[in-house]
Symmetry: C2
Subunit: 201 residues, 2 copies
């Protein structure tokens, strides 16, 4: 027996989201339909509003719903430091850490020939052109510590070598509060290699 | 920094679905918006279609999108055996096991005073009235093997005691293909207590 066609269509869409499989997509679709009707209507109209109002800032690639980007329009931010991330939601995480006051450049994912993510489609070509146009002192590649993220960062660093712009990446090491015995050897090795001096406050 | 308001509204809705937390709801909302625009439009219209076409069968409570319920309108099914489940998607699972040719009664969840699920709101009162009206020989309580599911089954059994209708529940035991040493003691105990004779074919 098949679920009703509409339920299946909803499940098919949900299955395309990260970490949603065939079984859980159907479970989520049924759960959607079990919620109060007015909530489902509100969700529909939020999605439709998103289709018309949400767009990416042409300058930095952040998802915004107004006319001006809250980051690019903020003149107190340092325009000479550019943080490169691979997803708009990474900007939220970095902003919530209160540790950066420069500007952003959001790529569409990491470089991955296997997944057809190229220099053009990820936006790396646009990033390089922007940096080469001048006015930027440092590019921080916050593209992730996995293989694809590191490859992307290495590519950007090598492409910008001639420009004299400093290309950095966030420190790797033990996460705050980590228990040493559970740290994986790569993380532990990098944490030790990158050890810092203990400063007395 | 907050995500755009529309993104937050989408995330707020998704967070109400099972096993979606605060972080993953935002992740799913961003993933939704990263999908091709036409897919998002198709999803919106599937949801809106669901709002107008999907309804519960007044007889059995199954979610259907046509005029007639595929189960209730099937005259080859045995109307004297009623399978009680607590969610419409359980019907799909049972139908796909090809082991039941009776009819269903879908409750709105298990009985749970703590979650404000009462005899009235779960539909148990309607179930009891239906059975008491006659024509039903057996009620199979497939309401789940957890505490709330068993309480619901016990309640139904005790409420129908006087009617002479047989109230049963699916066998409990080792799942097919289970490795004995990983079975929990309760399951193993019930599997041994409910052991069946090996029949030569």
């Amino acid at each position: 027996m098949e679920p009703p066609k509409t339920v299946q269509q909803i499940a098919d869409f949900l299955r395309r989201l990260p970490s949603v499989g065939t079984k859980s997509s159907l479970r989520l679709a049924y759960a959607c339909l079990a919620l109060p009707r007015e909530d489902l209507e509100a969700f529909c109209s939020a999605l439709e509003r998103a289709l018309t109002t949400i767009h990416t800032c042409p300058e930095c690639g952040l998802l915004i719903d107004g006319d001006s980007c809250p980051i690019c329009s903020d003149s107190t931010r340092d325009g000479s430091t550019l943080m490169v991330v691979t997803s708009a939601k990474d900007v939220l995480a970095i902003e919530n850490s209160d540790s950066f006051r420069g500007r952003y450049f959001v790529l569409s994912g990491t470089l991955s020939p296997a997944a057809h993510r190229t220099l053009e489609s990820t936006g790396i070509n646009r990033l390089l052109a922007k940096v080469q146009a001048g006015g930027i002192r440092e590019v921080i590649c916050c593209t992730g510590a996995d293989l694809e993220g590191e490859t992307t960062a290495l590519y950007i660093a090598s492409a910008l070598k001639e420009t004299g712009v400093e290309v950095t990446r966030p420190a790797e090491g033990l996460p705050s509060g980590a228990v040493l015995e559970y740290a994986d050897p790569v993380t532990l090795g990098r944490a030790i290699k990158g050890r810092t001096k203990i400063e007395e406050e």
